[in-house]
């Protein structure tokens, strides 16, 4: 029997989980809380896309949480100075790109290990935000919320935007030369180099893309609340890496699909509220998530052991 693809097994697991919820806790599906939960995850989905790209080239970026925070605070500061949205959005996106590009330069051009580089930038950026904000929340102008739309329209817009972006990137990974390059560099950088693909350029641009997507995620998070918390984005790196791993992206690069990671995120994001609705104590939430991640890695090992 042919083993199920990771995406198919995730759909099955999700289906079972949702079916159980449907019987045991139909309240889970009441529209407004469900919509809120999904729109809260929309930024995370966009950030996961960036992490997937980085992981496909055998690298990791654990500074995304701090990039996220810095972009949020930057956006809040600019908004409180009444910068029009049409300027604010590109500025923040540019800032994210620069942050990602800096990581990429250190990793690809100076050839430093990405886990160390991004650990350093994670701390530096986080401390910069702390120093700038001194823990203070930033109030946002009212017109920035939900892009000035009604709450539910805004939520739908965010969810649709995140899905659309994911769809475009998933298509690009399979159908653009750039996507093929990511897989080639991640599978065997030397072979890619011999085929005329530059591994260092590819890696640098991937980090840059990750920074851009993280900035977009920060903006998508910003419009959902009236204030900016300088601690926002804490733990984003773990969440996105976990989603990618559960979704079948190999930590050793070159393997996995973006839709898998999106499903992985959805599964992880479903587990915690599901536990609440099923009256399991909240303490178990992280343990269950951890178990899911371990299971995913064990499955990866098995599938790569029998080629």
């Amino acid at each position: 029997m042919k083993p199920l693809s990771r995406e198919a097994s995730l759909v099955m697991v999700l289906g079972v989980l949702l079916a159980v919820l449907g019987f045991a806790a139909p309240a889970f599906f009441s529209p407004q809380p469900l919509l809120s939960r999904l729109s809260m995850e929309a930024p995370c989905l966009v950030a996961t896309c960036g992490m997937v790209a980085v992981m496909l080239v055998r690298q990791i970026d654990i500074s995304v949480g701090s990039q996220f925070a810095l972009c949020s605070v930057l956006a809040g500061t600019l908004a409180s100075k009444n910068l029009p949205t049409s300027l604010l959005v590109p500025t923040v996106l540019l800032a994210g790109t620069v942050l990602g590009g800096f990581n990429g330069w250190l990793v690809a051009i100076l050839r430093l290990p990405s886990i160390v580089v991004t650990l350093a930038t994670m701390v530096i950026l986080r401390e910069t935000v702390r120093w700038h904000q001194q823990g203070a929340l930033l109030n946002l102008p009212a017109d920035l919320q939900w892009f000035g739309l009604s709450q539910s329209a805004g939520q739908w817009t965010l969810i649709a935007a995140a899905l659309l972006l994911t769809g475009i990137l998933a298509w690009a990974l399979q159908n653009l030369r750039a996507g093929r390059c990511l897989y080639a560099v991640g599978s065997d950088p030397e072979a890619a180099r011999l085929a005329g693909i530059s591994p260092s350029t590819t890696k640098a641009l991937t980090f840059l893309l990750c920074g851009l997507l993280t900035a977009a995620a920060a903006l998508m998070n910003l419009v959902q609340s009236p204030q900016v918390d300088p601690k926002s984005g804490t733990g984003l790196e773990l969440k996105t890496v976990a989603a990618a791993v559960v979704g079948g992206i190999a930590i050793s690069g070159g393997r996995g699909r973006l839709w898998g990671a999106a499903l992985g995120l959805l599964l992880l994001a479903t587990i915690s509220p599901a536990l609440t609705y099923l009256h399991v104590e909240a303490y178990w939430e992280k343990a269950v998530q951890g178990a899911v991640i371990l299971l995913a890695v064990i499955l990866d090992r098995k599938s790569s052991a029998t080629p």
Binding site: L176, S187, A191, A192, R193, L194, S198
Partner: protein
């Protein structure tokens, strides 16, 4: 006197490849026994059988005249068999004394290190072989020959009675090599049996008392060194090899050279002052031993390790090749050796592998046209007769020969003018091999210039119109007409030319 270590009719196969087909050799205490053989004659496999890294399929192994169980790496060491490799395997951050004693002390993780004893042991061992450096030096700071001395001291310390030395002088300058030879003699005079592997015939003549010649996995002859001439040895190594089939007629000399190298030098790759020419439609074979600079030259030409000086002319125009991308742009293609590592990407589908080097041409404006990719892949699958379940099958599911064809297809897709083939039939079965041979001939007859690197002399001689032999990163001889195997080997071994005095 009985032999310390004796092998009788040892055979060893790896899958379909018969690496050893019956090797017999006996090593006696106090004797230096030389082992000679071409690339791929089975020397490394033989060493691995002796050190217990490989288990022989059949044959007998005798220690002190008594039949012994097959060896494991641990039991081989316990029985006093030690091997010193060309590249010493030491811990660079530890001191000489630590390196020598690590293997000698009982390893319990918690046993206390007796530093004084360590130092004493190391000092006395180093004195025995006449080493001049302090045992407290960090190994990192030692030169290559000094590191080899550390290895020898370690072997002595472990009570080695058989010391195997695998080309210990290959990367040493003359003086250092002579000093090492002294130490080898010293070892033998202390009653150690030495198996000495080297390609330097004059060295073997100077120190060995006996020589065994390996050819195609068989021990062809064991002779006392006295009275043996170099010619005899070369003859034994080559045997009466018949070319697989007659080489093609050479292309007309009317056309100018496609590629011309003038005094090409690349220090990092060890290429020195190298000049050659190759015409369209010509197959130029590069002969030489492993490490003579053939692969290194290919890597320079393909921009992996760009040249420091000298010029590369393509159709009489000087070009700069600083990266594989440059090389591809100039119509150069390189099929690397070790296909499983860098020739193809095993988990990727056949079609993705085939189009990998031509993406910009095949998919302008960046998006991938599946139809074009599929039809190109199907064309190559048909024209090269690749046996695969389909273009979407991962390359890892194909046999070695077919993987090589996929790699070749990737480079033919670039429509190259110059194709560099590095060991194109390494590890492929006989059938695929002859297919690849006729393919190479066909490509050349269509006007492609081919630079062929092969360690298999029959293959090299059967395919090449001309042969250039490299040694130490230089062309030591070139043959305009197909040479005999003896001529190539003599040039590769550096015999027949005056050796420079260092």
């Amino acid at each position: 006197m009985s032999a310390v270590l004796e092998l009788r009719s040892i055979t060893k196969s790896f899958g379909p490849v018969r690496a050893l087909r019956g090797v017999s050799i006996a090593l006696f205490p106090g004797q230096i026994h030389a082992l000679l053989g071409e690339n791929g004659a089975g020397k490394s496999t033989l060493i691995k059988v002796m050190t217990g890294a490989h288990q022989p399929d059949s044959g007998e192994l005798l220690l002190d005249g008594k039949p012994s169980q097959p060896l494991s790496p641990v039991s081989a060491r316990a029985k006093g068999i030690a091997c010193i490799y060309q590249q010493p395997a030491l811990f660079p951050d530890l001191s000489v004394a630590e390196n020598i004693c690590l293997a000698l002390e009982p390893h319990s993780a918690l046993s206390r290190v007796r530093w004084k004893n360590r130092l004493q042991t190391a000092t006395s061992l180093l004195r025995r072989i006449g080493a001049q450096f302090s045992p407290e030096t960090e190994v990192r700071a030692l030169s290559m020959p000094e590191q080899q001395l550390v290895e020898i001291a370690r072997a002595l310390g472990s009570g080695a009675r058989v010391v195997i030395m695998d080309e210990p002088t290959a990367s040493l300058p003359e003086q250092e090599a002579n000093r090492l030879l002294e130490i080898v003699r010293e070892l033998a005079s202390q009653g150690v049996a030495v198996l000495y592997i080297s390609h330097r015939l004059e060295e073997i003549a100077a120190i060995a008392s006996h020589v065994t010649v390996l050819r195609d996995g068989e021990s062809i002859a064991t002779l006392p060194m006295e009275g043996v001439t170099h010619d005899q040895l070369v003859e034994l190594m080559v045997g009466r090899k018949v070319a697989a089939s007659a080489p093609l007629p050479a292309p007309s000399t009317a056309s100018g050279p496609l590629l011309e190298l003038q005094n090409l030098t690349c220090t990092a790759a060890g290429i020195r002052n190298l000049s050659l020419q190759i015409r369209p439609g010509e197959i130029l074979g590069l002969g030489g031993l492993v490490g003579a600079g053939r692969t290194e030259l290919a890597r320079v030409l393909f921009g992996i390790t760009p040249a420091d000086s000298g010029s590369i002319l393509l159709e009489n125009h000087p070009v700069q090749i600083r990266s594989p991308r440059d090389a591809i742009g100039h119509g150069i293609a390189y099929l690397p050796e070790d296909r499983r590592r860098h020739g193809v990407i095993l988990p990727m589908p056949v079609e993705h592998n085939m189009t990998m080097a031509v993406q910009p041409r095949l998919f302008p404006w960046t998006w991938i046209r599946r139809n074009r990719e599929r039809s190109m892949a199907n064309q190559f699958i048909e024209s090269l007769a690749v046996k695969t379940s389909g273009p979407e099958a991962p390359v890892g599911s194909l046999s070695g020969g077919n993987q090589q064809k996929v790699a070749l297809a990737r480079w033919l897709a670039t429509r190259p003018r110059l194709l560099i083939l590095d060991e194109p039939t390494q590890g492929v079965d006989i059938g695929a091999k002859s297919e690849i041979h006729s393919l190479i001939r066909k490509l050349a007859s269509e006007g492609l210039a081919v630079l062929l690197i092969s360690s298999e002399l029959p293959e090299l001689l059967a395919l090449s119109h001309r042969v250039a032999v490299l040694r130490g990163g230089e062309i030591v001889r070139s043959f305009d007409a197909p040479p005999t195997p003896q001529q190539v080997l003599q040039a590769a071994l550096g015999y027949g030319e005056k050796r420079e005095v260092a």
